[in-house]
Every structure is written in C-alpha cells, then in structure tokens.
Symmetry: C2
Subunit: 570 residues, 2 copies
C-alpha cells in the first residue's frame, strides 16, 4: 500500500522535489537531479536513471564516486527522452555522457532517443544498459536480461572508474566488463500498490515464493511453496552461482561483491537472517564476500521480496567496487575531495524560438491543435476503462499514460499555435510534450509518431488531404519501427498496422476523412480481435489466464483515437 | 508480514549474527555487538540498545562518532540485564559506561539492573533514557514519554561529544540537554507482524491515521481519517512545534535538526513527498532545517507509518548533530581516524566457579531444580493460552516469554546442581538465566525474584519450611519493588500481592505447602478478577474494548505457577 501522496499523478515529481529539498548536495533540474557541484571539466558525466518507485535507485546514487545526474521517470515508467536529455545537458561538462540504466524496453527506448538527440547536438554519448537478472533470459541471450540489483555495482564501477580518470571509451569498457561479471536473482512474496490505487498492481498467492519475478512484477521462472530463510538463501545462492565463471590466475579467484537487496517490506533483520545463510553457503563454495551490502538498494515500492547479486571480481573490479563513494544513499570510505564548489549555472528547458511559418500552414496548425485537444477529451473519457483493461495483464497505467500524454501534447499545441507556429512545429512540440508528459513506452511511441507526422509536413504549406494521409502514414511507420513488435504480439501494432494498410488501400487522393474512417474501423476490428490472442504474455503467466479474452489496451486506444479522428474529419 | 526466518524464536539472534557477518567493523559478543576496534583507553563507552525489529536502531549505529556497543534484545523486547552487562563489559575500556535507550518499562528495568551490576563491579555508569514522543505524555511529565525517532539525534549527540573528548559527566550533561531539546510525533496506518505469526500484532482500521501510536503499537492520542501527504505533514509539524522553545540570543534561534523516519512500509518516495511539505511548513515558521535526514532510522518491522523529529539546536547541539559519524547505517563527513586497529580481546560470559556448599543445601537445591523443571513443563502447557490472552491487549508474547524464561532457568538449575551448587547458587543462576532467556519486563521480574529467593537462603543449610516461605516472601517483595505497579494496575502485582498477604497470614511455621496452596488460591481468584478491571489500558484504547473481560496474563501465569508449587509440595 502506498499511503502518502497528494495528487497521485504528481507523486514521482513531488518525490524528486522532496529528495532535492532534503539533500544539499543535490540540485533539481528539469527531468531529474544533478550534483549541486559542477562536473569536473572534461570528466565524462555518468547519467543514470529509471522509473520512480525504486529509490535509492537511481537518484540516491548521485554524488562523487558514482553518478553526475539522474533523470527520474514516473512510477515504474522510464523517464522520457527529453527528461534524460535535460539531465544529461546539465551534467555534461566537456567529457561526454554515459547513459546507464536497467535493461527495460521503455528505458532502452527513451535513453536511446536522448542519446540520438545529444549526439545530434554534438555530444559524445555511450549507452550502457545493465542486464543482470538470470531469471529473465538464458545465459546465451544474457544481454536481453532485465536490470535489477546489479545496477548498483555495475554503475558504481563506472562511476569509480570515471572518478579515477577514465575517459568515455574506458568508462564504456568498464561498464561492459562489470555487467558481464554480474548476476542477480530475485524472489517475491507479494506485490506492491501504486499511489492512489486501491488494489495491488499484482499479487503473489499467500505461501508462495515467485522465483525470478521482476521488480515490476514481471513473470518469474516458477512458483514454489514459501520456505525458511535458509531455503530462500540456498535458492538465491544456487541460482546466481549457476553462472559462476571459471577461476583464473589474475582474474576471478573466488572473491565476489555481494548485495542482498530488499524490495520494500522485507525488513533489515529479515535480510540479516538470510545474509547469515548466504555468507555460510558462499564460504562452503570457497567464495569470499568483498564489502557485502545488505539493505534496500533497488526497491519496488512496498513489494515483498529480495534479490541477491554477485559480482565475480578481478583486481580491477574489486578496486572499483571498494572505491570511495559519497552519495545520499550510498557511502564508502573517504572521498578525496568532498567539499566541491557548488555550481550556479544550469541548462534549462527553455522556450526555444518558434520557426517562421506561412498562414496556410498556421491554419492547418490550428486544426491540428483542435484534433489533439479532441484526443485529450477522448483520453479523459476512456481513462478508467483503458486502465481497467491494462490492469488485467499489465501495470494498469495505460489510461493514465494516454491522458497525461495527450493533455501535455494539447497544451504544447495550444502554446505553439499562440506563438504562430506552423503545422510542422505544432506537431513536433506536441510530440515532445506527449513523450515527456506520459513517459513509458506508449508515451514514447505516440510522441515519436507526432514528431514524424510533423516531419512529413512543413511550416509553410497547408496540410491538404494528401499531406494529411502522408503524415499519418509516417506516424504509424515510426510507431512500427520504434516499437519493434510484430502483428500478433498483442501490442499497439495489432491495430496500427491494419490501419496503415487499409489507409493506403482506400485513399484515392481526395477522400482522406473517409479513408481514415475505414482504416479506423479496420483498426478497431483488429484491436477487438486481440482478445483472442492467447499468447502467454506478461503477467498473465503469473496471474493465470485472466488476460485471455482481454483486448490489448494500446491497440484499443490507437483504434479509438483514429475512429474519433475519422469522425472529426467526416 | 515477516516472511523470512528459520525458527521464529531464534529470529533476533540470527539477525544479529547476520548483521555482524555483513559488517567487518562489527564484532558479535554475548548479548549483542561491539565495534571491532577497541574503545580508545579512558573514553566513556556509549552502549545503546533495545528490542530487535527497529533496525537501524540500535546496532546500526555502532561505530566511530556514535556507539561503542549495542545489546540486542528479542523482537520488541528489551535486551536482558545480562546482555546489557556483557556488551558494556566488552565496550568499557577505562572510561566508564553510558547506557542509552528509549524510555520503555522493560528497557528501564534491564538497563537499570545492568547498571547496578556494573557499579557493583566498580564501573562508573550513567543511564540516559530518551523520551521524545510528545504523544505519550504531557509536556509537564515529559520525562515519562516514550523514546522513538529522537533516540538517533540524542544518542548521536552523546557519541559525538565522547568522540570530542567528553568524560562521563559531560556525556551525561549532553544527553540530558539533547533530550530536553528533542520532540517527536508519529502516525501509523497499519500494524506489523512478528516472525512466525500469521496475524498482525495490531491493526489500524483502513483509511484511519492513528496519531501518536508508538513503535510497538502503543495507543496514540486520537484516530483521524487518512489525509493527503500535505495533511500528514501539517499534522506532524504542528504537533512537534507545539513545544517549540522560545528563541534566545546564543541559544535556539530557529535552526533545527529534522528527521523524517519511516517505520517500515512507508517507502522512500512517499517520505520525500511528505518531506517536501515539511520543508515548506518549517520555512513558513522561519525554521531552518540543519542536515535533515529522510529515511528509515527507528523502524518497526513492516509497520506502516512515519514520525517526525525535531531537535531545537543551539551552537553546541548543532555541532554535535553535524559531527562526523561512520557506522553501518549512518554516515556523515570524514572521521579523523577511520582505520582503527582491530581488537582481539573480548570479555566472555564464562562459567564462573560454583561456591562451596554443604550437602543439606545441595539436597534442597535438587528439589528446587525439580520445581523449576516443573515450572518449565507448566509454561509449555500454558504457552498458547497465555499468548492468546496477551494478544488481546498486549503484544502476545507472554506465553513465549514465560516458556523461554522457565526453560533457560531449568537448564541453568540442572547445570548448577550437576556442579554441586547449593540452594542459593542454584536459585541465583536460575534467576539470571530466566531474565536472560526471556527478556522483556516479566522476564526481568521473574529473574530478579529467583535471585532474591536465593539471597534469602544459603549454600550451607537446607531450606526448611520457614526458609521456603521466607524465600517466597522475598521473591514477591522484589517483584513488587522492581515492577513499580500497584494492585489494580492490571499487572502481575494483582495476583502476587494477594499471594504474599495470604501466605504471611496462613503460615503457622510448619504448614508451608498448605499455606502456599491457600495463597495460590487467593492469587488465582485475584488473577481471574483482573478481568473486571476496566481501566482503559494499553492497546485496548486503540482496539476498542476487547481487553475488557480479559484477565491479565502476568497475573494469571503467576497464579498458575504458584498453584502448581502448592500442589507439588502438598
């Protein structure tokens, strides 16, 4: 249960503000936090982040010896690309940027988009996802694994290397090496509840241990009856040590960083009881824990569970693991230069100038702003139902995400129109705002779609029927390309791709409204048909077969908005 | 819910072992932990402790800048006097001892008994209970208040002063001054569950905020409907600031240490959301937070709730609050001498030699050991029922405590008999073992009673009927003196005092068994009558009137054991 919040939708932002207020070494910037002291000139800036709800990950690790900044997303939702970009701009000081995060689809997408934008602006950027969760993929495909407790030692190694003088190439090498040496396994006993929501996001049946369940309730590898602390310790140690590397002279010789991580309601004394067994079992395997850590590092709101992480050390990784660090939530040793000068210059998300436009395009821009305002009203109307559908097999935030995204986009469109922006700029600003306001994967896709639609038109010419259909086609093409899913995967693609096909087939050059209405009807039919996709997806595996018979919320919301667009144009 | 344990009764001890295993700066000794490095010669040893279930309090604060050692009790039960004694002996290094703890009856009793024993051994000892919870008594009787979140800043001030060179007098002065300047208020939204127990120790009704509820579920001042984070922040700030002292030149001038403390399941982001309001409200009152702390400091297993602590600072208290500290769970700044030499000499609870005895007394000693073994069997038989009764208005551990105590006492008695101990020594050893094995208030009282009974007999003479009754009288007199309760307070006294009166009145010199049986009958009648005491006591205030009609478990267990004793002698 999450008890304390004001507006649930503001929870993550309020938490960042309070975190910054409580820590004089931290300064809040647009999208997250940075150190109050300047990044030393020429030093690579380590920017690490993810969704809220996991504190100390990631903002708690901003400080000398680890990160320079942390973009903070919504609860369990990746920060948007523009949040990542803003924090990176504030952390970068001539040495380029390392973007570190746990390997989840939304984070890969948003950090990747931010990297593109930073590179376009002339910054050197390296992207280092952490993938340590042995339960989420097999050893061969280990780079597809999720990032859980291992984000601490892997990203700490990068931060320590940078503190030691590593450049970007070296930081990237260390990230890859540390990630390769790190293995985690988690277990969960019960789920967690989002702020303002009455029911848990998911549950684990009483007396059951969900082995390998992820930090957002992603399905694990199996359920077992709950055992003693000794049983749980053995399960975790065995799971992680299944991939213990061979011992070599000068390489891994049995020393390992050990992190026992509580997810929220498994409290300290329980963790110590388990750690006592972990230490014994490691000793039996001739493994020496180096500076073990027992506590809460990558939490998951009030989820009940814990994870064990081992980093199989060589001399270099041991030196980085034990190196000094001085951050709000993680301390070790003495930082050589703990009193750093406070900075007073920050990059701010400014009102960049609106490009010149012609009246023909401005007229179209006003109509586009009307459509996006319509989307906002429709999303408000559908929020609850989309949330309900999403909660069956997902995390229940799709309705909220669509409303936040469309609402931010509508505001941005109105503002751009008031500044005499043309159609291209209105679409671009709306798209950036949608991605930023919504966060999450669907927010990124809708945002990128609007930006792509904008790129298909101009700020000079009006948007005629052909241009409108072309822009829609470009938008859906972008969704398909970035989303990476195929039809039948039970995602937005299941309605977006039939929409695109039908639109191309039925548009004759002058009947845009009609063609869009036909395409929307096809999309709706396809969305409804997702109910019959019985693929064993997502949390359905944990929850039984409740997702069978339920449509995909992303496919449905796409079809609903296109239907409204068709009616609006008719 | 507490999920992870092996034997529930070993939970606290296992946790201490795991804590020590995870922290190279910590060494486990009998009864708790001390620093692995020696206390600097002549420096007062700060020994702080309390029940388990509150980590980081108290063992997490053992290290340079704060404590030298921490006795660790059972879950929510004070460490026994002998645990406190052992840790103090291991921490003391020529500078005397400061015993610091939260002001709860069991802790006052056990730390007080340990102080007596240390003083008897020639050590200078100061006892500094912390009493910061404004909800637990009025301002005038503030030294009766419970100790909650304020134990951190008050005991940190003492540790910092000692690090600065304070002697015992100075450390005691700082403790009193810091305690006088510290105020806390807590709220709870739901209860916590002890290891191995299916039902929560207590509950807070859904949607209700229990204002002032203590860290073991002690009754608060009122229930309110649950509000927003802003409401909760306002309630806490208002409550604590109601006792803001006047501002003076050179004294308190508006600067305050601020600690927002989560009890277990109220997680970090929630706390930051609340802290953002706390910072705003304090600014409105022209109060400047000095190095605020937001996190978990005095937790309460998986209890849902949080507390706010303010220390109204002057220059001296500010210096102590911001002073460096390097402990497992609390870090600040740079300790001047962080690499201290490890120690290798520890005081151990040894098998002290058994005093010489005569056969007459040894015969009595064997009968006494039989009686204590009988007590153990009776306590095993009654464990569940005593626990059930205790759980209505107390914390449900009375049955377990009586069994642990009598079992430890029976073992010690058997061992002493096998070493040819006389009656006095057997009783003394049994009493020490009872207090140590049981912990808690009733454990201390039963332990002290057995020791007192021993002091009434000798290792030379046999225990005749007169000596037996005299020993029993001394035992009950001790219970009454140490327990500090009156008849009608619904405690063990309600049956112990009628027992003593009836025993004195009915013993004619030769009829000990008969007199004891009569006294036991009176005790049982009085115990049963406690059901009609409708005093609004303990958790009954929170739980409604469920305690009405329930007998006091301590009074009942006393009556049951005396009844068995009477039958055994008949």
């Amino acid at each position: 249960m999450t008890y304390l919040y004001d507006q649930p939708s503001d929870f993550a932002a309020d938490a960042v503000a309070g975190f910054a207020a409580a820590h004089p070494t931290i300064t809040q910037v647009h999208g997250g936090v940075v150190r109050a002291s300047a990044t030393p000139p020429g030093q690579p800036a380590l920017v690490i982040g993810g969704g809220a709800g996991h504190y100390p990950a990631f903002s708690g690790w901003v400080g000398p010896g680890m990160a320079h900044g942390s973009p903070c997303g919504n609860v369990f939702a990746s920060p948007s690309a523009s949040q990542v970009y803003s924090v990176a701009r504030n952390a970068e000081n001539g040495g380029g940027v390392v973007l570190g995060f746990g390997n989840f689809a939304g984070d890969v997408l948003h950090f990747g988009l931010a990297a593109e934008k930073l590179r376009a602006d002339g910054f050197d950027v390296r992207v280092v996802p952490v993938s340590d969760d042995v339960a989420s993929s097999d050893q061969e495909n280990r780079r597809d694994r999720r990032g859980i407790g291992g984000v601490l030692p892997v990203l700490k190694a990068v931060g320590a290397a940078i503190e030691d003088g590593a450049d970007l190439d070296e930081a990237e090498r260390i990230a890859a090496k540390a990630n390769e040496a790190t293995r985690s396994l988690g277990v969960a006993f019960d789920g967690c509840t989002l702020p303002g929501v009455d029911e848990p996001l998911f549950r684990v049946p009483e007396g059951i241990l969900a082995v390998g369940m992820g930090i957002h309730g992603e399905p694990g590898v199996r359920d077992e009856p709950m055992g003693t602390a000794a049983d749980v310790a053995a399960l975790l140690v065995d799971g992680v040590l299944r991939e213990e590397p061979a011992r070599t002279t000068g390489g891994y010789d049995g020393r390992a960083a050990v992190i026992l991580n509580g997810l929220g309601t498994v409290k300290y004394e329980e963790q110590f009881v388990v750690y006592n067994h972990v230490a014994r079992l490691l000793a039996e395997r001739d493994i020496v824990p180096v500076r073990p850590e027992v506590g809460e590092f990558v939490s998951s709101l009030d989820m009940a569970g814990l994870s064990l992480t081992l980093v199989f050390l060589d001399d270099e990784l041991e030196r980085l693991w034990t190196a000094p660090i001085d951050t709000p939530a993680f301390h070790r040793g003495i930082m050589p230069d703990i009193d750093r000068p406070l900075r007073d210059n920050f990059w701010e998300l400014g009102d960049e100038p609106v490009p010149d436009s012609e009246e023909a395009s401005r007229q179209s821009a006003r109509r586009i702003a009307d459509v996006i305002a319509l989307f906002e009203r429709v999303c408000a109307r559908e929020e609850e139902e989309l949330g309900r559908i999403d909660s069956v097999a997902g995390d229940g935030d799709h309705g909220q995400g669509m409303l936040l995204g469309s609402s931010g986009a509508a505001d941005a469109a109105r503002k751009a129109v008031s500044q005499d922006a043309g159609a291209r700029t209105v679409l671009a600003r709306s798209g950036e705002a949608w991605a930023e306001s919504a966060g999450g994967t669907s927010g990124a896709l809708w945002g990128a779609a609007l930006v792509a639609a904008g790129n298909a038109v101009s700020d000079q010419e009006g948007v005629d029927q052909e241009a409108l259909v072309g822009a829609l086609d470009a938008a859906v093409e972008t969704i398909g390309r970035l989303g990476g899913a195929k039809e039948g995967d039970k995602t937005m693609m299941d309605s977006a791709l039939p929409f695109r096909r039908t639109l191309a087939a039925s548009f004759t050059g002058q009947n845009a409204g009609e063609a869009i209405a036909s395409a929307a009807a096809a999309a709706r039919e396809a969305a409804d048909a997702t109910a019959s996709i019985t693929a064993n997806k997502g949390r359905a595996r944990v929850l039984g077969d409740k997702s069978l018979g339920t449509v995909d919320p992303g496919a449905l919301s796409f079809a609903i908005l296109m239907t409204e667009l068709g009616e609006h144009l008719a």
